[in-house]
Every structure is written in C-alpha cells, then in structure tokens.
Symmetry: C2
Subunit: 233 residues, 2 copies
C-alpha cells in the first residue's frame, strides 16, 4: 500500500522485518551479518543498512562480538507504519487489529470533536461527500467502493482535527478498515446504522457541534469494537 523494495536494502528489510515481527526470529535470537550477507547474497553494506533501519525501529539491537539481537516485543516501535504493516500481514493480525481498534476508539472521537471546531469549509464538504458516497454504495455488494469512502471519511476527520499526531493515524485507520473488509466477515452489506452515523457526524461537524460529533463518533468506534468482540461494558 505504500513503498516497495527499490534498492537491495529495502528488499532485505521486507524479508527480515516480517520475519522478526512474525516471530520467526523470536526475541533474543541472534543474527550475524555475514550469515545474512550470504543468505541474501548481497554485500555487507546492504545488510548493515537494513540492520540500522531495524535498529531504529527498536526491533533489534546490534552489539559487538555478539551480533544482532532481536529485542523484546514491548520495546518495538509499534507506531512505525512499516512495523504495523508487517504485523498486520503476519500471524498475530487479529491481535494487532484489536489493539489498533482500541486506539481508534480513543482517538477518533476526540479528533471528531476538534474537527467540528476547526474543519475548513472544504473539509466539511469532503466529509459530506464521502458520507453520501457511503450511503450510495452501502447496498448491492459494492464493498470496494464503500471502503474507499469510509477510509477517506476517517482520514478527513483526523486531518481536520488540526492535530498532527491524529492526522498521522490516517494510515493506521486505513489499514484497520481495509483489514476488516478483507479479512473479517463482511460478506454482507455494511450495517445501515453505521452508515447513518457517518452522515450524522458529517452534519454535526458542518454545524460546529463538537459534543455531538464526538458522541456520534464514539458510537461508530464502539460498533467497530463490537465487531471484534472487544469488551462491551
């Protein structure tokens, strides 16, 4: 969905990263550069650059005389988009989807409240447009088109919040929504109630009603959590 292996070091990364995040090399495992050099049939330079990147993601730590050691899971930079992609592609995808959905449930309502205050007229218009797009694609097995509008809607909300930290979660939300459509049940058309909620959020933002926008978004994320059987107090 984003970059792709241009350059050998990227190719190595796209092989090593998933191998680490998926547990093929569990925490504590030790890799040696010359071994990798041989395995990927590339030069030392390339391996070292890949290792440096993995190190900056806190996936590994490189120490002299010992090798490149995989770090414990708790220390990984789990907000790194690349790490998120690797983990979503791996075995603990369900677990990862839950974590991210909980994060969404915390962030998106607050973002919607802020968006209601700060959204530009253009952003309001975009929101409305995508909400209506969701309505018009919510029936008749148009899940692909529906997803496009859904993702765009949430991206606009996050961006319109005016908070860069929220805005950067757009990719994460996109992954979660895409993952849900691809992997989850979702054989059937989207829940009409959810569609309506999006329309009403767009309305609330347009009318600068922060409290309502937040509350409605909270309903949306609550629905997303329910889909994954996450705690329902």
């Amino acid at each position: 969905m984003e970059n792709q292996g241009q350059g050998l070091h990227a190719r190595v990364l796209e092989s090593l990263g998933p191998a680490i995040t998926s547990g093929t090399y569990p925490p504590g495992s030790v890799l040696r550069t010359d071994e990798l050099e041989e395995r990927f049939d590339v030069s030392r330079t390339v391996i070292r650059e890949a290792i440096r990147v993995l190190e900056s993601m806190h996936l590994v730590v490189s120490r002299r005389r010992v090798g490149v050691t995989v770090r414990p899971t708790e220390e990984w930079n789990v907000y790194d988009p690349q790490v998120i992609r690797w983990r979503l592609a791996g075995a603990d995808r369900p677990r990862q989807l839950r974590s991210l959905t909980v994060l969404r449930s915390a962030v998106e309502p607050v973002a919607a409240g802020l968006a209601a205050r700060l959204a530009t007229p253009e952003q309001c218009e975009e929101l409305t447009r995508h909400a209506l797009g969701m309505v018009s694609t919510s029936r008749g097995q148009q899940l692909g088109a529906y997803l496009v509008h859904d993702v765009a809607f949430h991206r606009v909300i996050l961006r319109a919040s005016g908070n860069e930290m929220f805005a950067r979660l757009g990719d994460v939300v996109a992954e979660v929504l895409t993952g849900r459509t691809e992997h989850q049940v979702m054989f059937t058309d989207p829940d009409p109630a959810a569609v309506t909620l999006h329309v009403r959020v767009a309305e609330a933002v347009r009318e600068r009603d922060a409290a309502r926008a937040e509350a409605l978004t909270r309903e949306i994320t609550a629905g997303a959590m329910a889909e994954l059987d996450i705690l329902a107090p």
Copy 2:
C-alpha cells in the same frame, strides 16, 4: 533520556535529525552524501547508514542523481520517539507539547478505564504507591521527586491498560510531563486538586470502577490542557 551516540552513525544522526526537524534544512532542501561526508569527517558508510535511518523515519527521501531531499513535515513519522525528542528539543517545542497533550487527553482516559478492568494487583499497588508518593512530595519544592512519581503513575496506567499501543506512549507522556516541569511555569508546588485526582484514580482502579477511573483521568488531562491554554469548551 534514552540512547546516546555509540557509534559514529549515531553521532551523525544526533546532528542531522535535529537539524532537519528544527527547520535548519527545510522541506525540499537537498543534502549530498559527499558533502556530509566531509562535514562530519566520516566515511560514506557512516553517512549512508544515517541517511537510511532518516529515510525510515520519513524525514528524507534519497533519489539518484538528485540527492537526499527533506520531506514535507506532514509525512514525518511523528510517533518515532527519536523524532519526538528532536522536536521537543527544538524551536517548536511549545507546539509539539500541545499536540502531545491533546493526544494524551484522548488516550489516557480510555487507558485508565481499561486499567480498571485489567490491572493486576501488583499494578494496583504500584499505582497507589506512586499516588501517595505524589501527595508526600507535593509540598516544599520537591518538584523533582514529584515528577518521578507522576511519570511512574501514568506509565503504570498505560501499561496496565493491556494495550501495547497505549503502553508505548509511556515515553511520550514522560517527555511531556518532564517538559512541563522543566520549561513551564511550575515554580510553585503542584496543584493540590491534581494530586487528589491521581489518588482518586488509583482508588477507582483498585475498586475496578472503570467509568470513574476514566472520568477522573479525563479531569487530569483537562487540567493539563488548561495549563497550556488549549481550547476550553
């Protein structure tokens, strides 16, 4: 507060990173590797490794025949702890503190609610201990000791939430709290009301009262926002 320049590439990073995030090299600027090589008096190997790391943070993009170009701010991996540190150390520290405080206000209450359900007895005990520690250090210019308990308290909440995404925000919160003590007013002792709120959160978690823990934490973060003059609806 974390790693330090062990290795030349790390030294280069600690110089280039802040230079980019602080705007010394604004987006669109172009760096050439051989120029950097000379400026830092290190080999290509070292420069290239540093560049790879900056690239993985989405701070720069390296293209043939053109050089290493600084990317637009919106594309930076603003959740990377190292990027956060660099930006907090730079000129737009106030702006960064606001962004992060808003993020806290979204995440921490939800985390506290989850902690109330999931915290282990040990974590409950830790919470209580740090809350009491805050009480006992809240008077008489013991800001340093107070800060230690404050940071520890919020770390436990985030970790006890059982959500790895939340848990990894512990460092961010620590930076924000530390930054407030160091840079903000805070000449005077901490607000007694805030101290009391922490004690009550610990209580609520201990009593498994998720709604109360969430609401009380929302009050804490609202206070933090008020300190920074962030919107007060």
